[in-house]
């Protein structure tokens, strides 16, 4: 098994008095796709944001490649090589597609901008066609591609994807998952994927966690969880 890239121990996060993460243990190893599945409100997005230090964990530790990042400011954490395509995409609506991608390259200081831009455009040709369009006027699927592309522009060691399939047509979902798989296999990119669309995610994942109510309820390989009766009953029935 490869080295651990990201590890969380006993991570607790609060919104005011409400506790959203109740002691989470997890790890992501180099070169793998890890996934967190769980119902709406389980705390998946909170986990993704806590990894990036916004909000900050109130207890526990998060370690990236041997370095404790629990108390670091967000912009310093991402400079260590974590990029996130967050829930709700959060593209900059009044900037062009191109400018959004420039923003993505902030961590890289635009050093490999042209090269990376070509890669992102190869992955999502739609973005190239829309390059000068205001991002706010893109369709939902295009915005999702932009959010992922923007994250890739940072040349991350760890890519966090929060529900990349949300609200998208099945054909686009397929494209996006194919893109994630390709990045992982061809570039060796490590991915932590959060999904409600459990079937797709589990099929892709080397390592998987099920989150319920701010806790990890189950973990295993993607294949194991796909076979698990509890998981099937809770997340896959009525299937995809």
């Amino acid at each position: 098994m490869s080295e651990i890239l990201l590890q969380g121990k006993g991570v607790e996060t609060f919104y005011g008095k409400i506790q959203a993460l109740k002691g989470i243990d997890f790890e992501v190893r180099k070169g793998e796709i890890a996934t967190v599945i769980g119902a709406n409100g389980a705390g998946k997005s909170t986990l993704m944001m806590t990894i990036c230090g916004t909000p900050r964990a109130r207890a526990g530790t998060i370690v990236l490649d041997g370095k404790d990042i629990t108390q670091m400011p967000t912009h310093e954490i991402v400079h260590l090589g974590i990029a996130q395509s967050p829930e709700g995409r959060r593209i900059f609506p009044r900037m062009s597609v191109f400018e959004n991608l420039q923003m993505g390259a902030t961590v890289d200081k635009l050093r490999h901008f042209d090269e990376d831009l070509a890669k992102v455009f190869a992955l999502f040709p739609r973005l190239e066609e829309r390059r000068n369009q205001r991002a706010g006027t893109l369709s939902g699927g295009e915005q999702q591609m932009l959010a992922i592309g923007r994250a890739l522009m940072a040349r991350p060691r760890l890519l966090l994807l929060d529900e990349p399939s949300l609200g998208l047509a099945p054909i686009i979902v397929k494209q996006i998952f194919a893109a994630i798989k390709k990045l992982n296999q061809e570039e060796g990119l490590t991915v932590l994927l959060v999904e409600q669309n459990a079937f797709h995610a589990l099929r892709l994942a080397h390592r998987a966690y099920v989150m319920v109510n701010g806790k990890i309820a189950m973990s295993g390989t993607g294949a194991e969880l796909l076979k698990s009766p509890e998981v099937r009953a809770a997340y896959l029935e009525g299937g995809h």
Partner: protein, 312 residues
């Protein structure tokens, strides 16, 4: 017609000054969603510092052109520097600790800062207005109407007016390029649109906010110098009314919009000048603020308010 043309020139001059100040309001609002009520006083500090430095240098209208240009360049740099330090400090001590607190807290703090600056300057520099000899004199006659043509009247543009209008134009062009074309401007706009996302991309948000305060202060300081040279007088209280007018301009143009602030400044300047010219000087401020109220009622977005085209 000639009379109108003259007012147009005067309005453009005054509007330039308001526009420069208004940008500071609108940028700060854009990025942290608050009105920096001390901004008008930063403008006042800019003008006061300009006065002090000019006095210390001892330049007068009689000094050679080269000397005057050199002195003004120096004054611009010093005034911008000191105004920046003030605005930067205000953000650090009075606004940043209150970020994330209830919405009115930074507003109250801002009003407090405004009073602090005014009182500080009043005590340190004495309350009396500070007059100076005109530094830049002369001008051009653009048009002349004789008595026979309906009354003796000359349309003039002074060198000072030319300087204000041209330098404002240059400054705003440079500034627009900075915001539209550079990484710094991009970071600024990113923070304005989604602060959290900007930080997730590696932008140091606190630093970007500080830079925004500094940029606003530089423009306000420049406006302060122009104000001093135009009216040949300054005092500790000029920031109050000019600040409120510039704030009005920012709202009129669409708060958060930089071109809006420039446009709003011009409109407010024009209204004030035209009203004084055709109706009564006493009511010029009333006229300006009436327009604000009308805009707020009928066009709450302002003239160039942002169209939010966002799809889910």
């Amino acid at each position: 017609m000639e009379y109108f043309l003259q007012q147009l020139i005067n309005g453009l001059t005054l509007g330039s000054i308001y526009g420069l100040i208004a940008i500071g309001y609108t940028m700060v609002y854009g990025i942290i969603g608050m009105i920096n009520f001390a901004h008008g006083d930063v403008f006042m500090v800019g003008s006061m510092v300009s006065f002090i430095v000019l006095l210390a240098l001892g330049v007068t209208g009689g000094s050679g052109a080269f000397m005057i240009i050199f002195a003004l360049a120096l004054v611009v740099v010093i005034a911008m520097l000191i105004a920046s330090v003030y605005n930067w400090t205000i953000e650090r001590v009075a606004y940043r600790p209150l970020r994330g607190s209830f919405r009115l807290a930074p507003l109250i703090s801002a009003i407090g800062m405004s009073i602090v600056l005014q009182e500080f300057v009043r005590i340190a520099q004495e309350g009396r207005p500070k007059p100076m000899q005109p530094l830049i004199t002369g001008g051009y006659e653009l048009m002349h109407r004789t008595l026979a043509e309906g009354g003796d009247f000359t349309v003039k543009i002074s060198n000072m007016q030319i300087m204000i209008i041209v330098s404002t134009l240059v400054l705003m062009t440079v500034f627009t390029m900075l915001i539209q074309r550079t990484a710094l401007g991009r970071a600024q706009r990113a923070c304005e649109q989604d602060t959290k996302m900007a930080s997730l991309l590696g932008i140091n948000v606190d630093r970007t906010i500080s830079i925004t305060f500094i940029l606003g202060a530089c423009l306000a300081a420049f406006a302060g110098l122009m104000f001093l040279l135009y009216y040949n007088v300054t005092d500790f209280f000029i920031g109050f009314l000019a600040g409120i007018k510039a704030f009005t301009a920012a709202v009129l143009g669409g708060i958060g919009s930089i071109p809006g602030a420039m446009l709003g400044g011009l409109v407010i300047g024009m209204i004030e000048v035209m009203w004084s010219a055709y109706f009564s000087v006493e009511y010029k401020d009333v006229a300006a603020f009436t327009v604000l109220v009308m805009v707020l009622i009928f066009m709450p977005q302002g003239l160039l308010g942002k169209p939010e085209v966002e799809k889910i």
